[in-house]
């Protein structure tokens, strides 16, 4: 008995430590996806569904060079250190040809640093940090979603069109919030030098004291408010702000506030008249967007979120890069990503050669409440390419290269 158990155990241990099977030439092409499927389930699940759908479509159409794509999804608990280890495992043991994923910026930055070190391709699909392609940018990291800077610039453009000159900001107290406020200030001040910023509030992420924040904002007597809070913080902020009349006669600009991930939970209490970036999946008619929404709803029996679109575009981008690459070696895939154009529901998206940022844009619109649900109206898709700094400026920001 003992001997048998021992043999079984040793076999298991040996299997765990054994050298990897050499990358198979005829099996599927493996992609490693690392995300916070548990810690950020509300965002990661729609993303995964969009991603899976894209890969299913690519495989149904014959795959890449006759081989299917297989994505291995791994949970990193939202910890950068775990993500690094999983990345190593995916690349060295599972035979992945490249990495994708992450929502949290810190995890994205950790993986990008490893990718640069090891010469592995990493497509940062959802993290928003500007640092990912600029101050900490590297040749091996590409980013799909419109960055903090781009989305803030879209709202700043809208803000410049209004009469408001006294702005107050509220943003979670961490890098994303700080970047979002800095970018908004930078672009808005350039467009309209007479604006002044009369108050800045920095609640702790997911621990907002909404009543106090609203009182503090009211005290600053601004004409307009720029909101970067999201998730449960946004719900509390909207509720307290509406109850206490903070939003009356004030223009409000909300970064990401129009994404279904954040707007849907608010239901009938969704704010009205905010100018936001988001994803109005319910409003598309007769275009590629509508087609994607219909396919997605049929496939998963639920409506898409913004993450679904990002996940779908991630899948399409990976497939396009593999199609374009001369081989599945990292260097070839990297070269294929540079300047790569992908056509998806929102139109054509290009991974810029100058900073590896894709030109995927965002939808900008005004919030309203229809039939007990928050929606975006008067929306338009803004191409991301128009909201990036001049090339010379990008080069100085991407100084590391």
């Amino acid at each position: 008995m003992f001997r048998r158990t021992f043999t079984a155990l040793s076999a298991a241990v040996l299997a765990a430590f054994a050298l990897p099977a050499a990358a198979q030439e005829d099996g599927p092409i493996v992609i490693g996806e690392i995300n916070h499927f548990k810690r950020m389930a509300a965002f990661a699940e729609p993303y995964r569904k969009g991603y899976e759908m894209a890969i299913e479509e690519v495989n149904a159409a014959g795959g890449i060079a006759g081989r299917e794509i297989a994505v291995i999804y791994r949970d990193d608990q939202g910890e950068p250190g775990e993500a690094i280890r999983i990345a190593e495992e995916l690349m060295t043991r599972e035979g992945a040809v490249m990495l994708t994923g992450s929502i949290l910026s810190n995890v994205g930055l950790a993986i990008s640093s490893l990718a640069d070190r090891k010469g592995w391709v990493y497509l940062a699909s959802e993290p928003l940090a500007d640092a990912l392609v600029w101050s900490e940018g590297n040749p091996w990291t590409f980013r799909l979603r419109a960055s903090t800077y781009m989305q803030a610039a879209m709202l700043a453009e809208e803000a410049a069109k209004t009469e408001a000159t006294r702005f107050a900001t509220i943003a979670p107290n961490y890098a994303y919030g700080k970047d979002a406020v800095a970018a908004f200030k930078e672009v808005l001040t350039a467009l309209k030098p007479e604006v002044e910023f009369v108050g800045e509030q920095w609640p702790q992420l997911f621990q907002i004291d909404a009543g106090a924040e609203v009182q503090a904002l009211e005290r600053a007597k601004p004409d307009a408010i720029y909101n970067v809070t999201f998730g449960p913080d946004l719900a509390k902020f909207v509720r307290e702000g509406a109850d206490r009349g903070l939003f009356e006669d004030r223009a409000v600009f909300g970064l990401l506030s129009g994404e279904p991930e954040y707007l849907e939970p608010l239901g009938a209490e969704a704010p009205e008249g905010w100018v936001v970036t988001g994803y109005p999946w319910y409003a598309f008619e007769g275009d590629a967007n509508a087609e994607f929404v219909a396919d997605y709803t049929a496939r998963w029996e639920e409506s898409p979120k913004n993450g679904s679109l990002v996940g779908y575009m991630t899948g399409l981008s990976v497939a396009a890069a593999l199609e374009r690459a001369e081989s599945f070696a990292p260097e070839a895939i990297r070269a294929a990503f540079e300047g790569l154009s992908v056509t998806g529901p929102v139109g054509e998206v290009t991974y810029r050669e100058i900073d590896n940022q894709s030109t995927m844009g965002a939808f900008v619109g005004t919030t309203a409440v229809e039939e007990g649900a928050g929606v975006m109206v008067d929306w338009a898709y803004r191409d991301g390419a128009a909201y990036l700094p001049e090339d010379a400026e990008v080069k100085t920001r991407r100084a590391a290269e």
Partner: protein, 612 residues
Amino acid sequence: MGLILAQILTGLANAGALFMVASGLSLIFGVTRIVNFAHGSFYMLGAYLGWSLMQVLPGSFGFWGAILLAWLGVGLIGALVEIVILRRVYAAPELFQLVATFGVILIVQDLALMIWGPEDLLGPRAPGLRGVVRILGEPVPKYDLALIALTPLVALALWALITRTRFGILVRAATQDREMVGALGVNQRWLFTATFALGCALAGLGGALQLPRGGADLLMDFTILTSVFVVVVVGGMGSLPGAYLASVLISVVGVFGVSYLPQSTLALTFVVMVAVLMWRPFGLLGREEVAGELGQVGPPEDPIAPASARMRLLVGMALAALAALPVYGSPFALVLATDIAIFCLFAASLHFLLGQAGLVSFGHAAFYGGGAYAAALLVRHAGAPMELALLLAPLIAGGLALGIGFVALRASGVYFAMLTLAFAQLLWSLVWQWAGVTGGSDGLIGIWPARWADSNTVFYLLSFALSVGGILTLRHAAHAPFGYALRAARDNAPRAAATGFDTRALQWAAFTFAGAMAGLAGGLFVFAKGSVFPNELEIARSFDALIVVFLGGVKTLSGGWVGGAVFEAGVDWLTRFDYWRLALGLVVLFIVTLAPQGLVGTARALWARVRP
């Protein structure tokens, strides 16, 4: 004037839910001596249960009925947890129960995700209490006023329960001396169950009551936990009036902080906590802990002995086999083994503090993360080579421990633990806020090993050598006169002092030494990962270490690293599955109930039975 009044009212309303959750935690601790890490989970359950009930129960009656039912329901769940799990581990070493509550956290997280789904739920409004009233021209939400009125009512009811009923008399008696209560013929088991259930019910009530001001989400269990700990400690563990006073103090200070120092939101509550504990080391209304009160329950520890020759041979062979891993292991095995080695050193350093000095630290991540940041900052800002950074990381972390230990060791027992937690949080907020130097939440990236240690193989050997060296050093210290003196101070401080030992200096030295070793682990971590983020300073990291030390076995010499190795490898394996948190929670509970002496302690007991 109007604004200041309105701000005070906001603070008082915030204090409501906080008080209910905190009073529950305080009550549970007072009687059962359990530091219930899962208290936030009961708060979350209260919110989710309340939300679901409000969906089916109509009108104003339904709203308040739902809150009442949520209160009852969470109380029942609490009773169940106590009967099924905690009852089995009261005889375990001091504070061991918190490992069980950690398992509960994991299970509740996954169950809530399964039942209620990933999306945030917006709390229903209280019927008839929507909107604001104007007080001196300032808008104040009606529901805030309801909460302000309700909180003292709950507090009064609790007070009446504790001072005017037989149950209350028993609770108070058990808070003072639970052995005596048992000796006088009171059925302690049901007293503990009732108290635990009541405490959990209060947390559930707090969760349900805050629904109209927010909602239910899957992160709320952890987000409230730190503030609740702060309130309980500032008020004094086990004191209900103290909990009320502290929740009001923390909330009102918080509101003014938001208005007049908006950047302060991260650090403010912890600054208040440290200030109060410097002034009154046992909280505002707490009473001094009697030495040994936390009780060295269970059989006395065997004296430690050097390992036998056969054991040395075995360990030596195992180490040799591990050192040869590059020969037969895959590249990934090396990476995993590196992580495990580093984590083992971190766990062993905390284990030394717990096991040898009897000091329970809830903030050991301060030194692990501190060492990591020290190394990263040296590389980033001073261009230091890896060798120098690795040399200085433990020294800087040790220096940090020297400073924190000086203050924290003024208190003892749970207050000491909470002070270390507060300092770890302060360090965390400093790193988080001071983005210009530390990179804030975006961390410091691109910190890689020197060229010679660049390959996974060499870096593995380096980490392995340093970790094993560190662990052996810790072990050597336990066998040295220093270790004997430490254990003397741990087991009987007055007698040790009478023998001529400066017990505080001994503990201080142990704290510094353990901090330095954690710093070495942190330094290695940075170069293994190439980056460092504030995650390494988080409470969760301190808890990780604490959990593995208990799982490994506090009253053994090797519990720390064994627990670390098993846990780290287990988590790496389990996260491949969908509901890994549920699985991990169950595994933890399984170990806790079956092997309350920890893995090593239980293995040793079994071995002793086989071979007398």
